[in-house]
């Protein structure tokens, strides 16, 4: 997973297929922040406070759709997500290791 990190961005975009970027600093709601993709420096305005290391949507995601980071599926949305929103356990869930779903099905 080789990657080059450009200087001067607020968030990190790992792969051209990704829906999210990762905050490289504490970001406040309403800030317009930058990240770099193949086309150059991009901007998105945040809808929530974003802690360091947390994810920000850079594309809209429908509820139930896969969410990608590193170019791979990291889970699925449990609510509609718009660009600029904090993406975390409140709006995406894991697909794997879900013993709780099996337990519900057998009830």
């Amino acid at each position: 997973m080789a990657h080059v990190i450009g200087t001067g961005a607020d968030a990190l975009y790992m792969n051209e297929r990704d829906h999210v970027v990762t905050a490289l600093r504490e970001i406040r709601s309403g800030e317009t922040i930058s990240y770099r993709n193949a086309a150059g420096l991009q901007e998105v305005t945040t809808q929530n406070d974003i802690p360091f290391g947390h994810k920000i949507a850079v594309a809209a995601i429908e509820a139930g759709d896969d969410v990608r980071k590193y170019g791979e599926v990291i889970g699925r949305a449990v609510a509609p997500i718009v660009a600029g929103q904090h993406v975390h356990v409140h709006n995406i869930e894991g697909i794997r290791g879900r013993g709780d779903l099996g337990a519900k099905e057998t009830n």
Binding site: I5, F52, Y70, I74, G97, G99
Partner: protein, 387 residues
């Protein structure tokens, strides 16, 4: 010409980078005696644990293999085994197994010697004699291609997948390039990323085994009827920005570099020479690191974003982070900071070179922070009930 480092030559041809006297309790009942002897003999290390009795079948065998493997680890120069005298783990068989390496192994039991006080007294005499012999051994040039390094992550946050793990991967590739071995484990933490490792397995059989062990682990989670989120990723992982096990796994796997995977080995199984191997192990830090040490790893490279003090009984643990705030907070536990990757001031290759240099320094005797602080964690993964 073959590249060498200064290390210890073992009778069986392996190399050691430390020269420990290891004190092994075969059972929890011997822990206190072992710990007292360790206090009496500077430089000795004991591995107190919770097991060794009321165990059967594969679970009993796993405890035996862990104790034997730790004794056989090439960083161990001599072994003292202390039994209670009535437990499930057979101390004589354990001694015989470790003696196959050619290193000195002494064994006795507390019941025959006549209680704790006499066992501590007798054991201290034996340990001092073994230690005196170890201190006479000198380092010699040994081949770097016999070095085995384990890669592990724990207390991960988002920086682990973005910085420290990919940088460690560069160092892993450097060791493979020198002909050494890398082992990666944590079966739980490749869930969602196993397809990327499976396509790097050198045969279909190895790829199938990798899928099989992941499936087996996932079925165990299903049997518990729980969402693994909350257990893994842990509350700290989640606070650090990791939302799902898939996200954590995808960030984890880069730490083993890019080499083909030459085999999938069991927990605590001996790590083969030359190449990259996967060890079926839990993600739990201490159980995983202990299993890798029992497999013969010389060094563990451990990335962390949240920060952890962990060390290991017989192997140096190099702590690497991509989280600058944590590095500043917990500098007495951290060995390498690669957080400058995240502002672009150093490249991935430069960060990887920094870790590779640290591996070489530690291999030649530089103490890790965990060694300086006396961290000697040890833990055995259980797979059966206590009877």
């Amino acid at each position: 010409m073959e590249r060498t480092i200064m290390g210890y030559e073992r009778p069986n041809g392996e190399i050691g980078i430390r020269n420990h006297l290891l004190i092994i309790p075969t059972v929890i009942c011997s822990n206190q005696v072992c710990s007292r002897i360790m206090q009496m003999v500077p430089g000795a290390v004991a591995i107190p644990h919770q097991h060794g009795c009321s165990q059967i079948g594969a679970d009993k065998d796993r405890t035996f293999e862990m104790l034997a493997g730790t004794g056989k680890n090439p960083n161990v120069g001599a072994v003292l085994i202390i039994s209670l005298g009535c437990e499930v783990v057979d101390p004589i068989a354990l001694a015989a197994d470790i003696r196959q390496t050619g290193k000195p192994v002494e064994v006795f039991d507390i019941q025959s010697v006549g209680g704790s006080v006499k066992a501590i007294s007798y054991g201290t005499e034996v340990a001092k004699r073994l230690m005196a012999d170890l201190e006479k051994q000198e380092k010699v040039p040994v081949p770097l291609n016999k070095l085995k390094v384990a890669v592990k992550c724990g207390g991960s946050d988002a920086t682990s997948g973005l910085a420290s793990n990919p940088a460690l991967g560069v160092a892993a590739d450097a060791l493979i390039g020198e002909g050494g071995s890398i082992v990666i484990g944590e079966t739980t933490e490749i869930i969602g990323a196993e397809h990327l490792l499976a396509e790097r397995c050198v045969t279909q059989e190895i790829s199938d085994k990798l899928y099989y062990i992941v499936d087996r682990f996932e079925k165990e989670v299903e049997r518990m009827g729980a969402d693994m989120r909350g257990g893994n990723p842990s509350p700290g992982n989640i606070a650090g920005g990791l939302s799902t096990i898939e996200e954590k796994s995808l960030g984890c796997i880069s730490k083993c570099g890019t080499a083909p995977i030459k085999g999938v080995i069991e927990y605590a199984e001996s790590i083969p020479d030359h190449g990259l191997y996967f060890m079926d192990s839990p993600g739990n830090d201490i159980e995983c690191v202990s299993g890798m040490a029992a497999g013969g790893a010389h060094i563990v490279c451990f990335t962390t974003g949240r920060g952890t003090p962990t060390g290991a009984a017989v192997v140096p643990v190099i702590k690497i982070t991509g989280n600058q705030m944590m590095f500043r907070r917990m500098e007495d536990n951290m060995d390498v900071d690669v957080s400058d990757m995240l502002d672009g001031s150093v490249s991935l290759g430069q960060a990887g070179e920094r870790i590779w240099q640290e591996i070489l320094d530690v291999a030649e005797g530089k103490w890790t922070k965990a060694e300086v602080l006396g961290h000697t964690e040890f833990s055995i993964n259980r797979i059966g009930p206590s009877l």
